[in-house]
Protein backbone atom coordinates (compact mmCIF):
# COMPACT_ATOMS: atom_id res chain seq x y z
CA UNK A 1 0.00 0.00 0.00
CA UNK A 2 2.87 2.31 0.79
CA UNK A 3 4.15 1.48 -2.66
CA UNK A 4 0.91 2.67 -4.18
CA UNK A 5 1.11 5.90 -2.20
CA UNK A 6 4.54 6.64 -3.64
CA UNK A 7 3.70 5.37 -7.06
CA UNK A 8 0.28 6.92 -7.47
CA UNK A 9 1.85 9.82 -9.34
CA UNK A 10 3.46 7.32 -11.63
CA UNK A 11 0.04 5.96 -12.57
CA UNK A 12 -1.23 9.49 -12.96
CA UNK A 13 1.67 10.39 -15.24
CA UNK A 14 1.07 7.39 -17.43
CA UNK A 15 -2.60 8.19 -17.89
CA UNK A 16 -2.31 10.76 -20.72
CA UNK A 17 0.24 8.57 -22.48
CA UNK A 18 -2.07 5.57 -22.35
CA UNK A 19 -4.97 7.71 -23.48
CA UNK A 20 -2.93 8.86 -26.48
CA UNK A 21 -2.01 5.34 -27.56
CA UNK A 22 -5.53 4.03 -27.06
CA UNK A 23 -7.19 6.83 -29.00
CA UNK A 24 -4.77 7.39 -31.85
CA UNK A 25 -3.14 3.99 -32.27
CA UNK A 26 -5.46 1.30 -31.01
CA UNK A 27 -8.81 2.86 -31.85
CA UNK A 28 -7.87 3.05 -35.55
CA UNK A 29 -7.27 -0.70 -35.45
CA UNK A 30 -10.99 -1.05 -34.89
CA UNK A 31 -11.43 0.88 -38.10
CA UNK A 32 -9.61 -1.83 -40.02
CA UNK A 33 -12.86 -3.79 -39.84
CA UNK A 34 -13.80 -1.54 -42.72
CA UNK A 35 -11.71 -3.74 -44.96
CA UNK A 36 -14.15 -6.58 -44.45
CA UNK A 37 -17.27 -4.49 -44.85
CA UNK A 38 -19.18 -2.64 -47.48
CA UNK A 39 -18.90 0.67 -45.74
CA UNK A 40 -21.67 3.17 -45.90
CA UNK A 41 -21.16 6.34 -43.85
CA UNK A 42 -24.84 6.45 -42.88
CA UNK A 43 -24.65 3.08 -41.12
CA UNK A 44 -21.25 3.57 -39.52
CA UNK A 45 -18.56 0.93 -39.13
CA UNK A 46 -20.57 -1.38 -36.89
CA UNK A 47 -23.74 -1.09 -38.92
CA UNK A 48 -22.25 -1.69 -42.35
CA UNK A 49 -22.60 -5.07 -43.95
CA UNK A 50 -19.94 -7.77 -43.71
CA UNK A 51 -18.63 -8.80 -47.08
CA UNK A 52 -15.76 -11.00 -45.98
CA UNK A 53 -12.67 -10.91 -48.16
CA UNK A 54 -14.33 -9.40 -51.20
CA UNK A 55 -12.26 -6.20 -51.01
CA UNK A 56 -9.05 -8.21 -50.87
CA UNK A 57 -10.16 -10.38 -53.77
CA UNK A 58 -10.97 -7.29 -55.80
CA UNK A 59 -7.55 -5.91 -55.08
CA UNK A 60 -5.56 -9.08 -55.78
CA UNK A 61 -7.31 -9.63 -59.09
CA UNK A 62 -7.22 -6.00 -60.18
CA UNK A 63 -4.98 -4.65 -62.87
CA UNK A 64 -3.36 -2.37 -60.28
CA UNK A 65 -2.18 -5.08 -57.91
CA UNK A 66 0.94 -6.13 -59.79
CA UNK A 67 1.68 -2.65 -60.97
CA UNK A 68 1.80 -1.05 -57.54
CA UNK A 69 3.52 -4.03 -55.94
CA UNK A 70 6.15 -3.93 -58.66
CA UNK A 71 6.61 -0.16 -58.39
CA UNK A 72 6.87 -0.31 -54.62
CA UNK A 73 9.52 -3.00 -54.74
CA UNK A 74 11.47 -1.41 -57.60
CA UNK A 75 11.55 2.07 -56.08
CA UNK A 76 12.57 0.58 -52.72
CA UNK A 77 15.31 -1.47 -54.35
CA UNK A 78 16.59 1.51 -56.34
CA UNK A 79 16.89 3.60 -53.20
CA UNK A 80 18.54 0.70 -51.41
CA UNK A 81 21.07 0.12 -54.19
CA UNK A 82 21.84 3.71 -55.12
CA UNK A 83 20.89 5.91 -52.17
CA UNK A 84 22.01 3.70 -49.30
CA UNK A 85 25.72 3.46 -50.25
CA UNK A 86 26.05 7.14 -51.24
CA UNK A 87 26.54 8.53 -47.71
CA UNK A 88 29.03 5.77 -46.93
CA UNK A 89 31.11 6.76 -49.93
CA UNK A 90 30.85 10.41 -48.93
CA UNK A 91 32.06 9.63 -45.42
CA UNK A 92 35.01 7.68 -46.82
CA UNK A 93 35.91 10.56 -49.12
CA UNK A 94 35.61 13.14 -46.34
CA UNK A 95 37.79 10.96 -44.18
CA UNK A 96 40.61 11.25 -46.72
CA UNK A 97 40.52 15.04 -46.79
CA UNK A 98 43.47 16.47 -44.94
CA UNK A 99 42.51 20.12 -44.99
CA UNK A 100 40.23 20.75 -42.02
CA UNK A 101 38.81 23.82 -43.67
CA UNK A 102 37.84 22.09 -46.89
CA UNK A 103 36.32 19.22 -44.95
CA UNK A 104 34.16 21.60 -42.95
CA UNK A 105 32.95 23.39 -46.02
CA UNK A 106 32.14 20.12 -47.76
CA UNK A 107 30.21 18.84 -44.76
CA UNK A 108 28.28 22.04 -44.16
CA UNK A 109 27.27 22.30 -47.79
CA UNK A 110 26.23 18.67 -48.19
CA UNK A 111 24.11 18.69 -45.02
CA UNK A 112 22.26 21.75 -46.20
CA UNK A 113 19.60 20.24 -48.48
CA UNK A 114 18.36 18.10 -45.61
CA UNK A 115 17.08 21.28 -43.98
CA UNK A 116 14.92 22.22 -46.91
CA UNK A 117 11.38 20.97 -46.63
CA UNK A 118 10.13 18.20 -48.88
CA UNK A 119 7.52 20.44 -50.46
CA UNK A 120 10.16 23.00 -51.42
CA UNK A 121 12.48 20.30 -52.75
CA UNK A 122 9.67 18.96 -54.90
CA UNK A 123 8.85 22.48 -56.02
CA UNK A 124 12.42 22.89 -57.15
CA UNK A 125 12.35 19.55 -58.95
CA UNK A 126 9.16 20.55 -60.74
CA UNK A 127 10.61 23.91 -61.80
CA UNK A 128 13.95 22.54 -62.91
CA UNK A 129 12.55 19.62 -64.92
CA UNK A 130 9.84 21.64 -66.64
CA UNK A 131 9.88 21.84 -70.42
CA UNK A 132 11.42 25.31 -70.02
CA UNK A 133 13.27 24.56 -66.79
CA UNK A 134 17.00 24.90 -66.40
CA UNK A 135 17.82 21.21 -66.93
CA UNK A 136 15.92 21.08 -70.19
CA UNK A 137 17.43 24.38 -71.23
CA UNK A 138 20.86 22.87 -70.93
CA UNK A 139 19.80 19.74 -72.80
CA UNK A 140 18.31 21.85 -75.57
CA UNK A 141 21.52 23.83 -75.75
CA UNK A 142 23.41 20.56 -76.17
CA UNK A 143 21.12 19.61 -79.02
CA UNK A 144 18.56 17.35 -77.33
CA UNK A 145 14.84 17.98 -77.33
CA UNK A 146 13.46 19.67 -74.28
CA UNK A 147 10.60 17.79 -72.62
CA UNK A 148 8.66 18.02 -69.40
CA UNK A 149 10.58 15.30 -67.60
CA UNK A 150 8.04 14.64 -64.88
CA UNK A 151 5.55 13.61 -67.53
CA UNK A 152 7.74 10.82 -68.84
CA UNK A 153 7.06 7.56 -67.06
CA UNK A 154 10.59 6.38 -67.82
CA UNK A 155 12.21 9.29 -66.01
CA UNK A 156 10.27 9.23 -62.76
CA UNK A 157 12.45 6.76 -60.89
CA UNK A 158 15.80 8.33 -61.81
CA UNK A 159 14.49 11.75 -60.80
CA UNK A 160 13.16 10.32 -57.57
CA UNK A 161 16.35 8.53 -56.61
CA UNK A 162 18.77 11.25 -57.69
CA UNK A 163 16.90 13.88 -55.73
CA UNK A 164 16.86 11.58 -52.70
CA UNK A 165 20.63 11.28 -52.87
CA UNK A 166 20.97 15.03 -53.33
CA UNK A 167 18.90 15.75 -50.25
CA UNK A 168 20.09 13.04 -47.88
CA UNK A 169 23.71 12.20 -48.67
CA UNK A 170 25.28 14.71 -46.30
CA UNK A 171 22.92 14.15 -43.44
CA UNK A 172 23.13 10.39 -43.58
CA UNK A 173 26.91 10.48 -43.78
CA UNK A 174 27.01 11.97 -40.26
CA UNK A 175 26.43 8.61 -38.68
CA UNK A 176 29.29 7.05 -40.62
CA UNK A 177 31.54 9.98 -39.82
CA UNK A 178 30.79 9.32 -36.18
CA UNK A 179 31.67 5.66 -36.61
CA UNK A 180 34.93 6.64 -38.32
CA UNK A 181 36.09 8.61 -35.30
CA UNK A 182 35.77 5.43 -33.28
CA UNK A 183 38.42 3.59 -35.28
CA UNK A 184 41.65 3.06 -33.39
CA UNK A 185 44.30 5.39 -34.85
CA UNK A 186 47.08 2.99 -33.93
CA UNK A 187 45.90 0.62 -36.61
CA UNK A 188 46.73 3.25 -39.22
CA UNK A 189 50.13 3.86 -37.67
CA UNK A 190 50.89 0.17 -37.73
CA UNK A 191 49.71 -0.16 -41.32
CA UNK A 192 51.85 2.77 -42.38
CA UNK A 193 54.86 1.09 -40.79
CA UNK A 194 54.13 -1.97 -42.86
CA UNK A 195 54.09 0.22 -45.96
CA UNK A 196 50.39 0.01 -46.72
CA UNK A 197 49.12 2.55 -49.23
CA UNK A 198 46.22 4.80 -48.29
CA UNK A 199 43.97 2.85 -50.57
CA UNK A 200 44.93 -0.36 -48.77
CA UNK A 201 44.20 1.32 -45.44
CA UNK A 202 40.75 2.29 -46.64
CA UNK A 203 39.85 -1.21 -47.70
CA UNK A 204 41.52 -3.01 -44.80
CA UNK A 205 40.98 -0.70 -41.84
CA UNK A 206 38.44 2.01 -42.52
CA UNK A 207 35.73 -0.02 -44.23
CA UNK A 208 35.87 -2.95 -41.79
CA UNK A 209 35.88 -0.39 -38.98
CA UNK A 210 32.51 1.03 -39.92
CA UNK A 211 31.01 -2.29 -41.01
CA UNK A 212 28.92 -2.77 -37.83
CA UNK A 213 27.34 0.65 -38.34
CA UNK A 214 26.70 -0.12 -41.99
CA UNK A 215 24.93 -3.37 -41.16
CA UNK A 216 22.75 -1.77 -38.48
CA UNK A 217 21.76 0.98 -40.88
CA UNK A 218 21.10 -1.66 -43.50
CA UNK A 219 18.72 -3.59 -41.26
CA UNK A 220 16.85 -0.44 -40.30
CA UNK A 221 16.57 0.44 -43.95
CA UNK A 222 15.23 -2.94 -44.98
CA UNK A 223 12.73 -2.82 -42.13
CA UNK A 224 11.35 0.28 -43.75
CA UNK A 225 11.64 -0.98 -47.30
CA UNK A 226 8.03 -0.62 -48.28
CA UNK A 227 7.54 2.66 -46.50
CA UNK A 228 8.96 4.36 -49.55
CA UNK A 229 8.68 8.10 -49.45
CA UNK A 230 5.13 8.19 -50.62
CA UNK A 231 4.68 11.84 -49.66
CA UNK A 232 7.33 12.70 -52.20
CA UNK A 233 5.70 10.44 -54.74
CA UNK A 234 2.33 12.09 -54.21
CA UNK A 235 3.94 15.47 -54.72
CA UNK A 236 5.73 14.47 -57.90
CA UNK A 237 3.61 11.97 -59.75
CA UNK A 238 0.69 12.52 -62.12
CA UNK A 239 -1.60 10.38 -64.21
CA UNK A 240 1.04 10.17 -66.94
CA UNK A 241 3.56 8.55 -64.61
CA UNK A 242 1.31 6.28 -62.50
CA UNK A 243 2.66 3.42 -64.55
CA UNK A 244 6.09 3.69 -62.92
CA UNK A 245 5.44 5.88 -59.89
CA UNK A 246 2.31 4.62 -58.20
CA UNK A 247 3.15 2.65 -55.04
CA UNK A 248 0.91 0.89 -52.51
CA UNK A 249 0.77 3.88 -50.17
CA UNK A 250 -0.05 6.40 -52.88
CA UNK A 251 -2.69 4.02 -54.22
CA UNK A 252 -4.26 3.77 -50.75
CA UNK A 253 -4.29 7.56 -50.59
CA UNK A 254 -5.88 7.99 -53.99
CA UNK A 255 -8.51 5.30 -53.61
CA UNK A 256 -9.42 6.27 -50.08
CA UNK A 257 -9.19 10.00 -49.86
CA UNK A 258 -9.69 11.14 -53.41
CA UNK A 259 -12.13 8.50 -54.63
CA UNK A 260 -13.76 7.68 -51.26
CA UNK A 261 -13.43 3.91 -51.65
CA UNK A 262 -12.85 3.61 -47.94
CA UNK A 263 -13.29 -0.12 -47.49
CA UNK A 264 -11.16 -0.99 -50.49
CA UNK A 265 -8.43 1.46 -49.49
CA UNK A 266 -8.33 0.06 -45.96
CA UNK A 267 -7.93 -3.46 -47.33
CA UNK A 268 -4.98 -2.33 -49.44
CA UNK A 269 -3.51 -0.59 -46.38
CA UNK A 270 -3.68 -3.83 -44.39
CA UNK A 271 -1.92 -5.61 -47.22
CA UNK A 272 0.83 -3.00 -47.03
CA UNK A 273 1.29 -3.58 -43.28
CA UNK A 274 1.47 -7.33 -43.69
CA UNK A 275 4.07 -7.13 -46.44
CA UNK A 276 6.08 -4.67 -44.33
CA UNK A 277 6.08 -6.95 -41.34
CA UNK A 278 7.05 -9.96 -43.39
CA UNK A 279 9.93 -8.06 -44.93
CA UNK A 280 11.11 -6.92 -41.52
CA UNK A 281 11.18 -10.47 -40.19
CA UNK A 282 12.95 -11.82 -43.26
CA UNK A 283 15.51 -9.01 -43.26
CA UNK A 284 16.23 -9.54 -39.60
CA UNK A 285 16.83 -13.25 -40.18
CA UNK A 286 19.14 -12.63 -43.09
CA UNK A 287 21.23 -9.97 -41.39
CA UNK A 288 21.52 -12.05 -38.25
CA UNK A 289 22.93 -14.88 -40.33
CA UNK A 290 25.44 -12.83 -42.28
CA UNK A 291 26.53 -10.20 -39.80
CA UNK A 292 25.64 -11.39 -36.30
CA UNK A 293 23.90 -8.11 -35.56
CA UNK A 294 20.15 -7.91 -35.65
CA UNK A 295 17.23 -5.88 -34.41
CA UNK A 296 16.09 -8.50 -31.94
Amino acid sequence: MRDFAINKYLYLMMLPVIAYYVIFHYAPLYGTLLAFKDYSPAKGIAGSEWIGLANFKDFFTSFYFWRILKNTVIISLYTLIFEFPAPILLALLLNEVRSKYFKRVAQTVTYMPYFISLVVICGMIVSFTNADGVINNVFTYLGYDGQAMLQKAGLFRPIYVLSEIWQRIGWESIIYMAALTGIDQEQYEAARMDGASRFKMITHITVPGIMPTISIMFILRIGNMLNVGFEKIILLYNSLTYETADVIASFVYRKGLLEFNWSYSTAVGIFNSIVNLALLIIANRITRKISESSLW
Partner: protein, 293 residues
Protein backbone atom coordinates in the same frame (compact mmCIF):
# COMPACT_ATOMS: atom_id res chain seq x y z
CA UNK B 1 58.49 1.34 -55.49
CA UNK B 2 58.80 4.48 -53.44
CA UNK B 3 58.00 6.60 -56.46
CA UNK B 4 54.87 4.61 -57.29
CA UNK B 5 53.75 4.96 -53.75
CA UNK B 6 53.92 8.72 -54.00
CA UNK B 7 52.00 8.84 -57.25
CA UNK B 8 49.15 6.72 -55.99
CA UNK B 9 48.94 8.88 -52.87
CA UNK B 10 48.73 11.99 -54.98
CA UNK B 11 46.15 10.59 -57.36
CA UNK B 12 43.99 9.60 -54.41
CA UNK B 13 44.16 13.16 -53.13
CA UNK B 14 43.26 14.57 -56.53
CA UNK B 15 40.38 12.14 -56.85
CA UNK B 16 39.02 12.98 -53.39
CA UNK B 17 39.19 16.72 -53.89
CA UNK B 18 37.75 16.54 -57.40
CA UNK B 19 34.76 14.43 -56.39
CA UNK B 20 34.01 16.50 -53.31
CA UNK B 21 34.32 19.78 -55.21
CA UNK B 22 31.91 18.48 -57.79
CA UNK B 23 29.51 17.43 -55.06
CA UNK B 24 29.70 20.85 -53.42
CA UNK B 25 28.95 22.45 -56.75
CA UNK B 26 26.02 20.16 -57.50
CA UNK B 27 24.56 20.72 -54.04
CA UNK B 28 24.99 24.45 -54.01
CA UNK B 29 24.14 25.39 -57.57
CA UNK B 30 20.39 24.66 -57.50
CA UNK B 31 20.10 26.90 -54.45
CA UNK B 32 22.09 29.66 -56.12
CA UNK B 33 19.96 29.30 -59.21
CA UNK B 34 16.83 29.83 -57.14
CA UNK B 35 18.36 32.86 -55.46
CA UNK B 36 19.40 34.41 -58.80
CA UNK B 37 16.08 33.63 -60.45
CA UNK B 38 14.07 35.11 -57.59
CA UNK B 39 15.57 38.57 -58.04
CA UNK B 40 15.74 38.46 -61.84
CA UNK B 41 13.44 40.47 -64.04
CA UNK B 42 10.61 38.15 -65.00
CA UNK B 43 10.67 38.80 -68.74
CA UNK B 44 14.41 38.23 -68.98
CA UNK B 45 14.23 35.05 -66.94
CA UNK B 46 11.53 33.53 -69.13
CA UNK B 47 13.49 34.35 -72.28
CA UNK B 48 16.76 33.03 -70.84
CA UNK B 49 18.13 29.62 -71.79
CA UNK B 50 20.70 27.62 -69.83
CA UNK B 51 22.47 28.21 -66.55
CA UNK B 52 22.32 31.41 -64.56
CA UNK B 53 25.54 32.86 -63.22
CA UNK B 54 24.15 36.15 -61.97
CA UNK B 55 20.64 37.57 -61.61
CA UNK B 56 19.21 38.82 -64.91
CA UNK B 57 18.62 42.45 -64.17
CA UNK B 58 17.32 43.15 -60.72
CA UNK B 59 13.74 43.26 -59.54
CA UNK B 60 11.98 42.67 -56.26
CA UNK B 61 8.54 42.44 -57.89
CA UNK B 62 8.34 38.72 -57.10
CA UNK B 63 8.99 39.27 -53.42
CA UNK B 64 6.32 41.96 -53.33
CA UNK B 65 3.94 39.42 -54.84
CA UNK B 66 4.85 36.83 -52.23
CA UNK B 67 4.34 39.15 -49.29
CA UNK B 68 1.10 40.48 -50.73
CA UNK B 69 -0.25 36.94 -50.70
CA UNK B 70 -2.15 36.50 -47.44
CA UNK B 71 -1.63 32.73 -47.71
CA UNK B 72 2.10 32.85 -47.01
CA UNK B 73 1.79 34.98 -43.89
CA UNK B 74 -1.16 32.97 -42.64
CA UNK B 75 0.78 29.83 -43.41
CA UNK B 76 3.67 31.03 -41.28
CA UNK B 77 1.20 31.88 -38.52
CA UNK B 78 -0.46 28.48 -38.58
CA UNK B 79 2.88 26.71 -38.72
CA UNK B 80 4.07 28.65 -35.67
CA UNK B 81 0.92 27.73 -33.81
CA UNK B 82 1.49 24.07 -34.64
CA UNK B 83 5.17 24.34 -33.70
CA UNK B 84 4.63 26.00 -30.34
CA UNK B 85 1.73 23.93 -29.08
CA UNK B 86 2.68 20.77 -30.92
CA UNK B 87 6.28 20.57 -29.80
CA UNK B 88 5.36 21.48 -26.22
CA UNK B 89 2.83 18.69 -26.10
CA UNK B 90 5.31 16.33 -27.80
CA UNK B 91 7.95 17.00 -25.18
CA UNK B 92 5.56 16.79 -22.26
CA UNK B 93 3.93 13.51 -23.23
CA UNK B 94 7.07 11.87 -24.57
CA UNK B 95 8.88 12.86 -21.38
CA UNK B 96 6.15 11.48 -19.14
CA UNK B 97 5.96 8.22 -21.05
CA UNK B 98 9.71 7.84 -21.17
CA UNK B 99 9.97 8.51 -17.44
CA UNK B 100 7.33 5.99 -16.43
CA UNK B 101 8.71 3.38 -18.79
CA UNK B 102 12.25 3.89 -17.55
CA UNK B 103 11.30 3.07 -13.94
CA UNK B 104 12.46 -0.25 -12.67
CA UNK B 105 10.42 -2.55 -10.46
CA UNK B 106 7.10 -1.44 -11.87
CA UNK B 107 5.46 -4.65 -12.83
CA UNK B 108 3.41 -3.55 -15.83
CA UNK B 109 6.14 -1.65 -17.62
CA UNK B 110 7.25 -4.51 -19.77
CA UNK B 111 3.72 -5.02 -20.96
CA UNK B 112 3.32 -1.32 -21.76
CA UNK B 113 6.55 -1.33 -23.66
CA UNK B 114 5.30 -4.15 -25.87
CA UNK B 115 1.96 -2.46 -26.38
CA UNK B 116 3.71 0.74 -27.41
CA UNK B 117 6.38 -0.78 -29.63
CA UNK B 118 3.76 -2.80 -31.48
CA UNK B 119 2.24 0.43 -32.75
CA UNK B 120 5.41 1.02 -34.74
CA UNK B 121 4.64 -1.99 -36.86
CA UNK B 122 0.88 -2.12 -36.90
CA UNK B 123 -1.37 0.73 -37.68
CA UNK B 124 -4.88 1.03 -38.90
CA UNK B 125 -3.85 2.95 -41.96
CA UNK B 126 -5.04 6.20 -43.40
CA UNK B 127 -8.80 5.80 -43.46
CA UNK B 128 -9.25 4.42 -39.93
CA UNK B 129 -7.07 7.23 -38.60
CA UNK B 130 -9.13 9.74 -40.49
CA UNK B 131 -12.32 8.28 -39.00
CA UNK B 132 -10.92 8.53 -35.47
CA UNK B 133 -9.78 12.12 -35.96
CA UNK B 134 -13.20 12.89 -37.34
CA UNK B 135 -14.82 10.98 -34.50
CA UNK B 136 -13.13 13.07 -31.82
CA UNK B 137 -14.13 16.21 -33.65
CA UNK B 138 -10.72 17.49 -34.71
CA UNK B 139 -11.35 17.84 -38.43
CA UNK B 140 -10.81 21.41 -39.57
CA UNK B 141 -8.93 22.39 -36.46
CA UNK B 142 -5.19 22.90 -36.17
CA UNK B 143 -5.24 20.46 -33.25
CA UNK B 144 -5.83 17.69 -35.79
CA UNK B 145 -2.16 17.83 -36.76
CA UNK B 146 -1.08 18.08 -33.12
CA UNK B 147 -2.97 15.56 -30.99
CA UNK B 148 -2.78 12.47 -33.25
CA UNK B 149 1.00 12.90 -33.44
CA UNK B 150 1.62 13.81 -29.81
CA UNK B 151 4.17 11.05 -29.33
CA UNK B 152 6.58 9.53 -31.79
CA UNK B 153 7.26 6.05 -30.47
CA UNK B 154 10.75 6.09 -31.88
CA UNK B 155 11.55 9.29 -29.95
CA UNK B 156 9.94 7.84 -26.84
CA UNK B 157 12.36 4.93 -26.97
CA UNK B 158 15.36 7.22 -27.45
CA UNK B 159 14.29 9.33 -24.48
CA UNK B 160 13.64 6.29 -22.31
CA UNK B 161 17.12 4.99 -23.05
CA UNK B 162 18.57 8.34 -22.02
CA UNK B 163 16.57 8.39 -18.77
CA UNK B 164 17.67 4.87 -17.94
CA UNK B 165 21.29 5.90 -18.07
CA UNK B 166 20.83 8.35 -15.19
CA UNK B 167 22.27 6.82 -12.02
CA UNK B 168 19.65 5.38 -9.66
CA UNK B 169 21.40 6.68 -6.57
CA UNK B 170 20.33 10.24 -7.34
CA UNK B 171 16.69 9.27 -7.27
CA UNK B 172 17.11 7.05 -4.24
CA UNK B 173 18.40 9.93 -2.17
CA UNK B 174 15.62 12.18 -3.44
CA UNK B 175 13.08 9.54 -2.45
CA UNK B 176 14.52 9.35 1.03
CA UNK B 177 14.05 13.09 1.26
CA UNK B 178 10.40 12.46 0.49
CA UNK B 179 10.27 13.42 -3.19
CA UNK B 180 7.45 11.96 -5.25
CA UNK B 181 7.65 11.02 -8.92
CA UNK B 182 6.63 14.46 -10.13
CA UNK B 183 9.43 16.08 -8.19
CA UNK B 184 11.94 13.50 -9.31
CA UNK B 185 10.88 13.94 -12.92
CA UNK B 186 10.98 17.73 -13.01
CA UNK B 187 13.80 18.36 -10.54
CA UNK B 188 16.23 15.57 -11.33
CA UNK B 189 15.53 13.78 -14.60
CA UNK B 190 14.67 16.78 -16.77
CA UNK B 191 17.61 18.98 -15.76
CA UNK B 192 20.00 16.06 -16.24
CA UNK B 193 18.61 15.23 -19.66
CA UNK B 194 18.95 18.56 -21.42
CA UNK B 195 21.05 17.18 -24.29
CA UNK B 196 18.49 14.53 -25.24
CA UNK B 197 15.68 17.04 -24.74
CA UNK B 198 17.41 19.44 -27.12
CA UNK B 199 17.63 16.66 -29.69
CA UNK B 200 13.95 15.85 -29.19
CA UNK B 201 12.98 19.49 -29.67
CA UNK B 202 14.92 19.46 -32.89
CA UNK B 203 13.42 16.21 -34.17
CA UNK B 204 9.88 17.24 -33.39
CA UNK B 205 10.35 20.75 -34.74
CA UNK B 206 11.68 19.49 -38.06
CA UNK B 207 8.77 17.05 -38.26
CA UNK B 208 6.19 19.72 -37.59
CA UNK B 209 7.86 22.25 -39.84
CA UNK B 210 7.87 19.84 -42.78
CA UNK B 211 4.42 18.40 -42.25
CA UNK B 212 1.86 18.92 -44.96
CA UNK B 213 0.33 15.54 -45.69
CA UNK B 214 -1.98 15.12 -42.70
CA UNK B 215 -2.81 18.81 -42.83
CA UNK B 216 -4.00 18.27 -46.40
CA UNK B 217 -6.29 15.50 -45.20
CA UNK B 218 -7.57 16.93 -41.94
CA UNK B 219 -7.85 20.62 -42.83
CA UNK B 220 -10.40 21.64 -45.43
CA UNK B 221 -10.39 25.35 -44.65
CA UNK B 222 -7.56 27.01 -46.57
CA UNK B 223 -7.27 29.64 -43.83
CA UNK B 224 -5.88 26.90 -41.58
CA UNK B 225 -3.23 25.72 -44.03
CA UNK B 226 0.27 25.49 -42.56
CA UNK B 227 3.08 27.01 -44.59
CA UNK B 228 4.08 23.80 -46.36
CA UNK B 229 0.58 23.27 -47.66
CA UNK B 230 0.44 26.83 -48.94
CA UNK B 231 3.78 26.19 -50.63
CA UNK B 232 2.41 23.08 -52.24
CA UNK B 233 -0.39 25.10 -53.79
CA UNK B 234 2.07 27.62 -55.17
CA UNK B 235 4.98 25.38 -56.17
CA UNK B 236 3.34 22.13 -57.21
CA UNK B 237 -0.26 22.98 -58.04
CA UNK B 238 0.95 26.15 -59.74
CA UNK B 239 -1.43 28.74 -58.41
CA UNK B 240 0.60 31.91 -58.60
CA UNK B 241 -2.19 33.92 -60.25
CA UNK B 242 -3.56 35.36 -57.05
CA UNK B 243 -0.22 36.94 -56.32
CA UNK B 244 0.20 38.50 -59.72
CA UNK B 245 -3.33 39.80 -59.93
CA UNK B 246 -2.44 43.30 -61.10
CA UNK B 247 -0.47 42.08 -64.09
CA UNK B 248 -1.77 41.26 -67.58
CA UNK B 249 -1.98 37.62 -68.63
CA UNK B 250 1.37 37.53 -70.38
CA UNK B 251 3.05 39.26 -67.44
CA UNK B 252 1.22 36.98 -65.04
CA UNK B 253 2.86 33.95 -66.54
CA UNK B 254 6.25 35.59 -66.48
CA UNK B 255 6.06 36.95 -62.98
CA UNK B 256 4.52 33.66 -61.86
CA UNK B 257 7.83 31.99 -62.62
CA UNK B 258 9.85 34.40 -60.50
CA UNK B 259 7.23 34.29 -57.75
CA UNK B 260 7.83 30.57 -57.39
CA UNK B 261 11.52 31.14 -56.85
CA UNK B 262 10.88 34.00 -54.44
CA UNK B 263 8.49 31.76 -52.53
CA UNK B 264 11.18 29.10 -52.18
CA UNK B 265 13.53 31.74 -50.83
CA UNK B 266 11.02 33.08 -48.34
CA UNK B 267 10.27 29.60 -47.06
CA UNK B 268 13.85 28.37 -46.95
CA UNK B 269 16.21 31.19 -46.06
CA UNK B 270 15.01 31.48 -42.44
CA UNK B 271 15.64 27.77 -41.97
CA UNK B 272 19.08 27.92 -43.56
CA UNK B 273 19.94 30.81 -41.23
CA UNK B 274 19.08 28.77 -38.16
CA UNK B 275 20.78 25.67 -39.41
CA UNK B 276 24.44 26.46 -38.63
CA UNK B 277 23.43 26.96 -35.00
CA UNK B 278 21.57 23.70 -34.63
CA UNK B 279 23.91 21.64 -36.78
CA UNK B 280 25.88 20.31 -33.82
CA UNK B 281 22.69 19.13 -32.15
CA UNK B 282 21.74 17.33 -35.31
CA UNK B 283 25.04 15.52 -35.26
CA UNK B 284 24.42 14.61 -31.65
CA UNK B 285 20.89 13.57 -32.52
CA UNK B 286 22.05 11.27 -35.27
CA UNK B 287 24.22 9.47 -32.77
CA UNK B 288 21.58 9.29 -30.05
CA UNK B 289 19.20 7.84 -32.60
CA UNK B 290 21.71 5.28 -33.74
CA UNK B 291 22.46 3.92 -30.29
CA UNK B 292 19.10 2.29 -30.22
CA UNK B 293 19.52 0.29 -33.41
Amino acid sequence: MDKNYGISEKSLDIFVYAVLSLLILVTLYPLLYVAFASVSEASKLVAHRGFLYTPLGFSLEAYKGVFKNPGILRGYQNTFFILIFGVTLNLFLTGLGAYVLSRKNVFWNKMFMIVIVLTMFFNGGLIPLYLVVKGVGLIDSLWSVIFPFAISTFNLIIMRTAFQSIPDSLEESAKIDGANHFTIFFRIIVPLSMPVIAVMILYYTVDKWNGWFYASIFLKDTKLYPLQLVLREILIANSTESMASAASNQDKFQIGETIKYATIMVATVPVLCVYPFVQKYFVKGAMVGSLKG
